[in-house]
């Protein structure tokens, strides 16, 4: 089946075609059994979609909505907006700060400035002599 004709067939179901396109489609429909079958399939598919859809929630739906509305504390709208904007700003600020902090820490560690080996492993002479003088028993 020609793709262009099929496209026209679908389009024809939802909008008016140009005269030339309509004539082309009519001609193709008259000539092709396959295209006619295809149109019948599409029309039945559309009918099933329109009629076969589930259209209800579980019973007592309105009760559940009302109890949900009652359970949410009512915040004055202005405050709600202000709170939202604070939350929005803080989340982004926190993420950016964390990234900057991690970057600075990495630089410090790489350059051996913040945690030099000496600072970690250095023990003074006094401390060593004190340790050595302490009797074990």
């Amino acid at each position: 089946m020609e793709k262009r004709v099929l496209k026209l067939l679908y389009r024809s179901l939802d909008s008016e075609l140009k005269k030339m396109d309509q004539e082309r489609l009519d001609k193709a429909l008259a000539e092709s059994e396959e295209l006619r079958e295809c149109r019948a399939d599409i029309l039945s598919l559309r009918q099933i979609l329109a009629q076969g859809a589930a259209r209800s929630f579980q019973p007592q739906f309105d009760e559940r909505v009302m109890s949900r509305i009652r359970s949410v504390p009512t915040i004055p709208r202005g405050h709600e907006v202000l709170l939202d904007s604070y939350r929005w700003a803080f989340r982004r600020l926190a993420a950016v700060s964390l990234l900057i902090l991690m970057f600075l820490l990495s630089v410090a560690v790489i350059q051996d400035g913040l945690f030099p080996q000496d600072a970690i492993f250095y023990v003074s002479d006094t401390a060593i002599s004190r340790i050595l003088q302490v009797p074990v028993f």
Binding site: R11, R55, R68
Partner: protein, 184 residues
């Protein structure tokens, strides 16, 4: 908006619970068709339906009546449903695609039973359609909105709606034919 609906809305705005209940009852089926059409009949559908009305309750004062109330609720419902689809997709991406399986055939016992009737087959096919096509098909063919209204709800040009509708139907037919071939 018709005068009766407008009056009910005014009462709901003044805090009349019965009036808001009336709004829920009038539009429940429309919202259900949209949410179930997009997400399929799962446990989260009821929750999303509730959330649609809760969001409307909170934004009721901002609703100016430029569009029909049903259209406004459908817009909330479809946005929530599409967000839920995105959330599911992210969740699947995070956990990985799972065991490999053929996309077209009917997967398990439950699906096979559902697919036994044509309506079930169409419903299953719809769930396998990409979200862009699905939303247009649900609004236009299930909810029965016009092309212009569908475009308005999804904030898309009408040409895009028409093209997605045509491609979506073609794809849906292809998916259903594939499932049919496998089960028969």
């Amino acid at each position: 908006m018709n005068p009766v609906e407008d009056e009910i809305l005014q009462r709901a705005r003044r805090g009349d619970e019965d009036a808001f209940r009336e709004i829920i009852r009038q539009h429940e089926h429309q919202v259900a068709a949209t949410v179930i059409g997009i997400l399929g009949n799962g446990p989260e559908v009821d929750d999303l339906g509730q959330e649609t009305f809760v969001q409307f309750y909170r934004s009721m004062d901002r609703f100016r009546g430029d569009s029909e109330l049903g259209t406004y609720l459908t817009r909330i419902a479809i946005n929530l449903s599409l967000n839920e689809l995105k959330r599911r997709k992210r969740f699947t991406q995070f956990l990985g695609p799972g065991p490999p399986r053929n996309r077209n055939p009917v997967h398990n016992q439950k699906e096979q039973e559902t697919a036994a009737d044509v309506k079930g087959l169409v419903r299953l096919g719809l769930q396998r359609l990409p979200a862009d096509f699905r939303s247009v098909i649900v609004l236009r063919l299930i909810d029965g909105y016009s092309t212009r209204e569908t475009a308005d709800i999804l904030r898309l040009p009408q040409g895009t709606v028409l093209s997605r509708l045509a491609r979506g139907q073609a794809k849906l037919k292809e998916i259903i034919d594939g499932m049919n071939g496998h089960t028969s």
